[in-house]
Symmetry: C2
Subunit: 758 residues, 2 copies
C-alpha cells in the first residue's frame, strides 16, 4: 500500500507516513512502486487547503444555481446558469482525476464515492443537453438532475462526518422500518376504530364538514394528531358529544405520540451511537496501522530491537510539523526517548502522531508592549491605579449594571432624542472598556485564540460603531433612514446584552458547552442542507406557481385566495399563508422549515393538495417521516451525546499516557491554575522564538508548556482518546482489511457492564 | 439494628432476615432488644399484601373524592364527602402508627416521609373544620388542602419508584434552573430584538391586531413559539413584509426549540440515569448487608469457618418460600452447597436472596388431559390429523388471511345485514381456533403465565362474544341499540386485528419490548397523576364556572361565546373550545392532557386569560414548564433507558454466577430452545407435585428446570443484576450509614471508559 493510498482526511499519521516515504526515497533504499517523490508531491497538493477550499467553493456555487434558475429568485438566462454548471462539473471532474492519480487503481474503483460522483457528472451533463435541446425547440421540460446536486456535497467534501450520518441513517433503516410499520399499523387500527365509533354519529367539524366519515381522511387526521398539529381540534366534536370519547384520543396520543415517537428516538440514537463508536474504533486502528507502516520504513537495527534514530526522527518531525518551536520538539523527543538513548523505539514512535496532535502551548510571563516602550508612564501611579481598578471585581459589576441600564434604554422609544443620544454614550462606554482592558492585560493575551468572549465583545462593538456611524451619516446626508442598516444596528445593540451571561460563572459553563457543540452542529447543518435541497427541488417542480402571494392592498383577481380559486374558504387562505409557497428556492426552504417545526403542517398540506391533487399530501407526509422522524432525532442524538460526553468529562480527567508523561516531566502546569484567569496575561500560543535545547523546568525563565484542553472538547476526539487509552501500546491492531470490515454489531461488549449500560 | 427497622419494600432479603430472627428467637439463643416474636409478627402484618392493598384503596378513595366534591361531576353533600375523607385520614393515621410500632423511634422520626404524612393529615383536618364551620355560617371558602392529597400517594405507597422520580426531579432542579434561566434570557433577548425590528412597522396579525408592539405580549408569543404551537402564524406578518425576517424566526426556533429543548432533555436524562444507578447501588449493598446480618444470626462454627447447617437452611427456605417444590429447594441447596458437605458457607448464603428470586420453572413433557381421559379418541387418526393441521404453519397463515378479510368487513357498512351476519361467522371462526389450539396443545401450557398473546386473544374473543350477544339480545328485546355496548363491540372487534402483529417475528420482538416497558410506565402514570391532580385542583379553584359548554342547538345567552361575553370574537370561542374548561375534575384532566400535548395551548391560555385576568397565563406557562419540560422529558428518559437496556441485552447474555451454576448442574436448558415455541407444550409453571430428593438430570423423566428470563426485563432488575455481577462475592460492602449516604456524584467512574461514555 502506498503512502498516497488513503486519500482524505490528511491527519498527522498520513503526513508522517508520507514523510517517511519521502525520506526513504531520498536515501534511495527501497522505493516502492507508485511512491516516487512526485507522487507524494501530488498527494500533498491534493490535500492542500486551497484545493479543498476550491472544491467546496464550486460545490456551493453549483447548489446556489437554484437561486438563478427558473423558478428563480433572481432570474438569469439558461445559457449563463448552464455554463456555470458545466464549469462546476469540470472542476469536480478535475478533482476526481487528481484523486485517481494519488490512489491505487483498485482502491479508487472500489470506492462507491467515486462512482457516485462520476455518475452524477454524467447524468447532469446528459440532462443539461436534453433540456437545452428541448428549450431551443421551445419545449419546456424538467431539470430533474438538479435533484442530484447534493451528491457532490456528500461524496466529495472532506466531510467524513456527513457521510457517517448518512451511513448511520442507511443502517438504521431496516430497524426503523419495522417500528414504522408497527406504528402505521397502530394508526390504521385506531382509524378503523374511529370510523366505527364516530362515523355514524352525524358529527360536524368546526368548519361544518362531516366528521370522521371517510377512512383515508381519518388516517390522515390521526397521522397529523401524532405530530400534535391538530390537537385538540380533531377531538372537539367527539368530546362535545361525550367526554368518554376523549379517552380514545388520549390513548391514541399516549401510544402513538409519546410511546412510538420516543421509540423512534431510541432506535435512531442507539444506531447513531453504535456507528459513532465503530467509526472511531476504525479510525484509531487505522492510525496505529499507518504509524507502524512508517516505523517499518524508517527502522534500523539497534542491538536486539528495531528503532528509529534520533536524527531521522528529528528530520521527520521537522518536515511534518515545520512550525513548532525547537523547544517543543525537544519536549516531544524527551517524551519519546525517555532514557535519552539516542533513538526512539517502536512503542514510542507509534505514539508520535498523538504527540504532534497534542496542542502544547508554550507560555511566558509576558510584559505588556507599553511597559516595553514607555516603562515609566506605564508603571506610574495613575497607570497602576487604572490597572488595579480594571482588574477589580467592581469593574465587571459596574459594566453589568451599565448593560442592564442599556437594556432598558433599548426597550424604550427610539424616537425620543435623549435616548438616541444615550446610545452614543453606551457605545463610548463599551469602547472605553475594551481599551482599558487592552491597556491592563497584554493585547496578545487578550486576543488569544481561546478568548472567545473578548473576540465576541470586540467585534460586536466595532460592528455596532460602524453601523451606527453609517446610519447617522446616511440620515444626516439624505434624511433617509436606511431600514437595513437600522435593523443591523438594533440587532447588534441587543446582542451586546449577551455579555451579561459571561459574568455569571454557571451560565458561562453552559454557554461553553453550547459553543462546543457548534462544530458538530455544522455537520448537522450540512445534512439538513442536503435533505432540504432535494425536497425543495421536488417541491418546486410539483407546486411552483400554484399559489401566489399578493401584498395586502392588492386588487388582483383572487388575491384573498392566493390567486387560486380552489383555495376559497380553505384554512390555508383564511390563515393568510399565501406566502408559504414553492415559487422559488428561498420560499421553498422557509416552507420546509415550517414543516420541520411541524405545527400547522396539515393546513399547508391541505392547501397544496387543494390546488393540485390529494396525493400531494404524500409529499408532506414523506417530508415528515424523513426530516422529523429521522433527521431531527439524529440532531437530538447529537446534542444528547455531546452533553453526556461533557458530563462524564466534568467529573473526571481523561488523560492519555502521553499527557501524563508531559506532566511528569514537570513542564506542564495544572490547567486549573489557568482557568481562573490569573495566568491569562502570561499566555501565548505558538511560542516560536525561544531557542535552546534543554526543556527542564523553565518556569524561572518564564516559559512553561501547557496542554491545551479545548481540542478534546468534541465528541469524536474525546471518544477516540478514550478508545486509544484502552488499547495496549503493544497491540498492533487488526489488519487493514479487518479494520475496514469492523461492524457496529461487535461494538457492544460481550457482557455489558453496569457502567456501560445505564 | 432490628429486623423490623427497614420498612417497605419487603424483598426476599427482608423475609430471610426476619425469618432468621424468628428462628433465633425460637431457639432462644440471643434475642436482641425489640426483636420479640411479636414485633416480628407485627412487621409481617405490616407488610402483608392485604394491608398494603387497603392503604392503596383508601389513597385512591381520597383522591377520587374530587369527583363528588364541589365542583363535582356527581355532586354529593359536603357531609358525605367530609366523612369519607375523615375515614381515609384515620386509615392513614393507623397505618402510620403501625409503621411507627415496627420501626425504631429514631429512624421513624428522622424519615421526612412520616413527618410529611403527619403534617398532611393535620392540615387536612384543620382545613375540613374551618371549611365546615364557614359553610354552616354560609360563607364559601376554598378547600385548599385538597391540593395536598397526592402527598399520601407519594409518601405512603410502597412506591419507591415514584419517590425516586421525585427525588430525581428535586436533584435536577438546580441544574435545570440554570439552563432555564439562560433559556429565558435568550427568549427575553429575542423579544427585545423583535420589538425593535417589528414594533414600528405598523404590521397587523391575521386577526387585525397590532403585531409585536407590546413587550410582554411578544415574550408570551415567543415563549409559545418555543413550543411550536403558534408556528408559522406568529411569523407570517413579518414574513409577508420581507422574507429576510423569516431568518429571525428560524434562528429563534433553532436555538430555543431545538437546542434548548434538547439540552433540557439531556439534563433531565442525565440526572435520571445518575440517580437510577445510585439507588440501584444502594439497594444492592443493602441487600448484601441484610444477608450478612441474617448469616451472623444463624451461623455456627464448623472447623475453621462459620457456616449455616443444612437443616437450618432448609427450615429457613421453607418458611420464607413455602410454595416452592421440594425438587426446586433441593436444586437451590445443591447450588449453595456444591460439594454436598452438609452446610452452607457465608459466600453461598449471601446469595440466597438472589437464588430465591430466580424464577426457576420446572418443566415436564406433559400429557394432554384428554389423552389421559380418553387416549383412544385423542390418538385416533382424525384427532391426529386435526392436531397436525393445527400445528402446521398454514393454520397460522389461514387465520391471518381471515383477520385481513375481517378487517375489510369491519370497515364496510354496518347496516348491511349480510355484513352483520358475517360478524357471527368471524366470531365462531376465532372461537374455533382457540378450541382447536387448546385441543392440540396442553391447556395449562396454552394458558401459562408467560403466554401473553394467548391470554390476550382469548379474553378479547370472549369479551366480544359476550358483548355481541348482549347487543343482539338488547336489540331484539327492546328494539333499542345500546350505544355503549355497541361501542365496546366495535372496539373489541378492531382489537382482535392486533393478533396479526403476533404472527410476524420482527413485530413480536418490538411488541414484547413495548409490553416490557409497561410496568415502568405505570410508575410514570403515578407521577403524572400526582402532578395532574395538583394542577387540576388549582385550575378548578381559578377557573370553575367561567366558561360554560352549551350543546350545539342551545339557545342560551352567549352560547357561542361559551356563556361569557369576554370571549366574543376570541380564537377560543371560534375554535369551539367551550368544553375545554375546569368545571369538574374530569374536564380539568382532559384540558391538562391537551396542554401536555401542547398544540393550541396558547389559545386555551388566552381564552382563560380573557375570562379572568392576563396573569392567568402564568398558570399555563407553569404547567408547561413542569409537565412538558420536566415530566415528559423524564418519560422520554424512561423509554430511552428501557430500550437501551433491551439493546444491550439483545447482544449479550447477562448471567450471574448463580445462573451459570444452575446451567452447569445440567438442569437448565438453553432458552433459545424454548423461544421458537417448540417446547411450548411442555412448559408448566410452579411445578409442585414432584417429590424426590435427587435433581440430577431428570430430562429422561420429563422434568427440567428452566430459568424464566422475562423477570429481568425491567431496567431496575437488570441493572441490579449487572451491578451485583461486578461486586466481588467476598466484598461485604460499605456500612449502612455509608450506603444511605452514597451520592449520585460518585456514580461516574474515575476514568470514563470508551464503553461507558457513548
Amino acid at each position: 500500500m502506498s503512502a498516497a493510498a488513503r486519500g482524505p482526511p490528511l491527519a498527522q499519521e498520513d503526513l508522517l507516513l508520507a514523510a517517511a516515504y519521502v525520506y526513504d526515497a531520498q536515501y534511495n533504499r527501497n522505493i516502492p512502486f507508485e511512491t516516487s517523490p512526485q507522487a507524494v508531491r501530488l498527494y500533498y497538493l491534493y490535500n492542500h487547503w486551497t484545493m479543498q477550499a476550491t472544491t467546496y467553493f464550486f460545490i456551493f456555487v453549483d447548489l446556489f444555481l437554484a437561486v438563478f434558475e427558473d423558478p428563480a429568485v433572481y432570474p438569469l438566462p439558461f445559457l449563463a446558469t448552464s455554463l456555470v454548471e458545466v464549469l462546476c462539473l469540470l472542476v469536480f471532474f478535475g478533482r476526481l482525476v487528481h484523486f485517481a492519480k494519488v490512489t491505487p487503481r483498485n482502491v479508487f474503483w472500489k470506492d462507491t464515492k467515486n462512482i457516485c460522483i462520476m455518475m452524477a457528472i454524467l447524468v447532469t451533463l446528459i440532462d443539461l443537453i436534453i433540456y437545452g435541446a428541448l428549450k431551443i425547440s421551445n419545449i419546456n421540460s424538467i431539470r430533474w438532475s438538479r435533484f442530484l446536486r447534493p451528491i457532490f456535497l456528500i461524496n466529495f467534501a472532506e466531510s467524513r462526518q456527513i457521510r457517517r450520518v448518512f451511513r448511520s441513517i442507511r443502517n438504521t433503516l431496516p430497524e426503523i422500518t419495522y417500528v414504522f410499520l408497527l406504528f402505521m399499523f397502530s394508526v390504521l387500527m385506531f382509524s378503523l376504530m374511529a370510523l366505527k365509533l364516530f362515523g355514524d354519529r352525524n358529527l360536524r367539524t368546526v368548519e361544518g364538514s362531516p366528521y370522521f366519515t371517510n377512512y383515508l381522511e381519518i388516517v390522515f387526521d390521526l397521522y397529523v394528531l401524532v405530530t400534535t398539529a391538530n390537537s385538540p381540534d380533531v377531538m372537539m366534536p367527539a368530546f362535545d358529544f361525550s367526554w368518554w370519547y376523549s379517552l380514545f384520543f388520549i390513548t391514541y396520543v399516549v401510544i402513538n405520540t409519546y410511546l412510538f415517537m420516543s421509540v423512534f428516538l431510541a432506535v435512531v440514537y442507539n444506531n447513531y451511537r453504535k456507528h459513532l463508536k465503530n467509526e472511531i474504533r476504525k479510525l484509531a486502528y487505522m492510525k496505529r496501522h499507518k504509524m507502524i507502516e512508517a516505523f517499518n520504513i524508517l527502522k534500523v537495527k539497534e542491538g536486539t530491537e528495531f528503532v528509529v534514530k534520533e536524527a531521522q526522527w528529528k528530520q521527520l518531525v521537522k518536515q511534518v510539523a515545520p512550525d513548532i518551536s525547537t523547544s517543543h520538539r525537544e519536549l516531544l523527543l524527551r517524551v519519546s526517548d525517555e532514557e535519552q538513548k539516542g533513538y526512539v523505539d517502536k512503542k514510542s514512535f507509534v505514539r508520535l502522531a498523538d504527540l504532534l496532535n497534542i496542542q502544547v502551548i508554550a507560555m511566558r510571563i509576558q510584559t505588556h508592549p507599553l511597559e516595553h516602550w514607555m516603562p515609566r508612564v506605564y508603571n506610574s501611579a495613575v497607570s497602576l491605579f487604572i490597572r488595579s481598578m480594571v482588574q477589580h471585581k467592581g469593574f465587571v459589576w459596574t459594566y453589568d449594571v451599565i448593560i442592564l441600564i442599556n437594556a432598558v434604554f433599548i426597550a424604550l422609544d427610539e424616537e425620543n432624542p435623549l435616548i438616541s443620544y444615550a446610545e452614543w454614550v453606551f457605545l463610548s462606554l463599551y469602547i472605553l472598556e475594551i481599551l482599558l482592558k487592552v491597556y491592563t492585560y497584554e493585547p496578545r493575551a487578550f486576543f488569544a485564540k481561546t478568548q472567545f468572549w473578548n473576540w465576541f465583545d470586540t467585534s460586536i462593538i466595532i460592528a455596532a460603531l460602524i453601523a451606527t456611524i453609517l446610519n447617522a451619516s446616511l440620515k444626516s446626508a439624505s434624511q433617509y433612514n436606511s431600514q437595513q442598516v437600522l435593523d443591523i444596528v438594533f440587532i447588534l445593540r441587543v446582542l451586546r446584552l449577551i455579555r451579561i451571561v459571561d459574568s455569571i460563572q454557571r451560565f458561562r459553563v453552559i454557554m461553553n458547552t453550547l459553543i462546543n457543540i457548534v462544530p458538530t452542529m455544522l455537520t448537522f447543518g450540512g445534512l439538513a442542507l442536503v435533505v432540504y435541497y432535494m425536497f425543495a427541488i421536488v417541491g418546486m417542480e410539483l407546486f411552483q406557481g400554484k399559489i401566489q402571494f399578493f401584498s395586502r392592498n392588492s386588487t388582483a383577481h383572487h388575491a384573498l385566495e392566493c390567486g387560486n380559486p380552489a383555495l376559497k374558504d380553505s384554512l390555508f387562505a383564511r390563515a393568510k399563508y399565501c406566502k408559504n409557497n414553492f415559487n422559488d428556492i428561498t420560499s421553498s426552504f422557509i416552507v420546509l422549515m415550517e414543516l420541520t417545526v411541524v405545527n400547522q403542517w396539515h393546513v399547508l398540506a391541505n392547501g397544496f393538495a387543494l390546488v393540485t391533487h390529494q396525493a400531494a399530501k404524500l409529499y408532506f407526509v414523506a417530508f415528515h417521516v424523513v426530516v422529523v422522524i429521522m433527521i431531527i432525532n439524529i440532531l437530538i442524538a447529537f446534542i444528547l451525546e455531546a452533553f453526556f460526553v461533557e458530563y462524564s468529562l466534568e467529573k473526571s480527567e481523561v488523560e492519555t499516557a502521553i499527557e501524563r508523561k508531559i506532566q511528569e516531566l514537570g513542564v506542564g502546569i495544572q490547567e486549573e491554575e489557568l482557568r481562573d484567569g490569573k495566568l491569562i496575561d502570561n499566555m501565548e500560543t505558538n511560542e516560536n522564538d525561544l531557542g535552546g535545547e534543554g526543556i527542564t523546568k523553565k518556569k524561572s525563565q518564564g516559559l512553561m508548556f501547557k496542554i491545551a484542553s479545548t481540542r478534546y472538547r468534541t465528541v469524536d476526539a474525546l471518544l477516540q482518546r478514550m478508545f486509544e487509552a484502552e488499547i495496549l501500546p503493544e497491540d498492533d491492531g487488526p489488519s487493514v482489511d479487518e479494520i475496514l470490515n469492523l461492524s457496529p454489531a461487535d461494538v457492544y461488549p460481550k457482557n455489558p457492564t453496569f457502567d456501560s449500560t445505564a
